[in-house]
Amino acid sequence: MWEQIAANKRKSAFLVTVMALLLGALGYFGGEYFMGKGGGIPGLALALVVWLIMTLVAWFQGDNVMLSVAGAKRVEKKDLPILHNIVEEMTLATGLPKMPAIYVIDDPAPNAFATGRRPENASVAVTSGLLKSLNRDELQGVIAHEMAHVRNRDIQLMLFAGVLAGAISLLAQVGLRGMWFGGGRSRSRRDSGQDGSGIFAIVAVVLMILAPILAQLIYFAVSRKREYLADASAASFTRYPEGLASALEKISRAPEKLASATSATAPMYIINPLKRANHMAANATGTHPPIDERIRILRAMGRGSFADYDRSYMKIKGVNKGVIPGSALKEETGGPAPAREHVSASQREIARQVDDLFYRKDGYRRIECSCGTVLKIPPDFGSDTARCPRCGTTHQLA
């Protein structure tokens, strides 16, 4: 698993380099086209500046923006003890240096995401719809998947790749528009005659049309690979692939659509919050692999090791090449799955805790009666006393 991070870094670094070269080429040829001969270097510099600014903005605001756009609220152990415990369990399984902060989004669509540039300041966010529809094992699978993203440094990578794809798309759009309106110094090209700038023009046009598409495809490919890896890691952390498989099944069946997701934040979610159906086209143009394929791989893997996942992946996909870096396969202890204590009625309990949380956020008062009933008093309750409906005890509210 340790080695796996390094191997991921190398492969992803290659793809990101390709994207960076695309950006550079776009800047260079665009410069040559618009600024005339010798404009390549300033064009390249311009592209780098655009990219740098976008990176800095994303780098310093990434977490906060994503959490606030999603309307996420920070929760502590007293708010949702079960969720807190699950995150703590996964922190131990992943060996992360620090437990991520936990956020809850009040949205009926079941989904979850992780943010944080470094594992030390990561956050995981889940929707209330997710908490209410999953049992403890399933929730553990989802949290394990999200924390695998943190642990495998996926968030950093997807942020970086996303900014690159964004910069390429921005420059190409500006360029194409400029060309359309005959902007720049394109007239000077005609004046100077045959100095080879016609080739530059053709290359520039082709790049402006193809580079954004290519960058998007690379971005999607990287994203999908990380999803498989996060699934495999989640299975190896929990040693219980069925938990995540069953969670994915439930999430994919939910009819609700997440209100706050955008295409920029989509790769961070456990399933693509924007695309509901499993179209064939989703294979090349989606941030996530088709969900029923992910479920089938998880269900066919048996035990929870990386090797099991890899075998299952090759069998389900009908390919000879696995998705897990070879170095990760050598580093496994395998070993028995940890014994799990089953907490009875935990799904109901989680749902109750979520309800309590949002009642509290809405200003409801909570009174525990001696008979075991819990009274929830709305903030605009007219009376100073409340009567327990079960045992008849009168409680003073003042």
Binding site: N85, G302, P338, G372
Partner: protein, 185 residues
């Protein structure tokens, strides 16, 4: 002059390489220690939660004297255990005694309706999970260290500085939960 510089350069490169291996080994050894500390924290936490649990269930489960006493005794065995192997055996006994207690608790609807009990049950169950996960990570850390200590070329450095292999934390008598196997072929 130039051959001398080349030789010097080679020596520096080899030393840097050895330092890298040495530091890697130290890092792995520290990780094993740190991972063990995490297991220990969770074992202690479980130990501390038990009096609270006993206090809560006592009133409901007065007919289950044996089950309750088994937990108390298992806990006492943990605090009385001497060496590490003995302690691990005692911790395993405690896991089993607690498992029995929660199994028996299933047949007490009043107890299961108590929010206090439910909270404690979640805490203890989660602590059991944490012990398992911390142990799982500890074993992985041990695996990484042992690999380095055994494999060439790091085994040379490990031999020079007396890095030793660590032992895995195995638990006997564990109720392993196997995932359902589904075959789609």
């Amino acid at each position: 002059m130039i051959p001398l510089l080349v030789v010097l350069g080679l020596i520096v490169a080899v030393i840097a390489w050895l330092v890298g291996i040495y530091n890697g080994l130290v890092g792995l050894r520290n990780q094993v220690k740190e991972a063990w500390a995490q297991v220990d924290v969770q074992l202690k936490r479980r130990f501390d939660l038990i009096p609270n649990l006993m206090e809560t269930v006592k009133g409901y489960m007065s007919h289950e004297r044996e089950t309750l006493e088994a937990v108390t005794q298992a806990r006492a065995a943990v605090s009385g255990a001497g060496g590490l192997p003995e302690r691990m055996a005692a911790e395993g006994g405690l896991t089993q005694a607690l498992g029995r207690l929660f199994a028996v608790a299933e047949s007490y609807p009043d107890l299961k309706a108590s929010t206090n009990f439910l909270a404690l049950q979640e805490e203890l169950a989660s602590t059991e999970n944490k012990i398992s996960f911390a142990r799982q990570f500890f074993n992985e850390a041990v695996m990484r260290l042992n690999n380095k200590v055994q494999m060439f070329p790091s085994n040379i450095v490990a031999g020079m500085f007396n890095f030793e292999q660590e032992t895995f934390f195995e638990v006997t008598d564990e109720t392993e939960r196997s995932a359902p196997k589904v075959d789609f072929s």
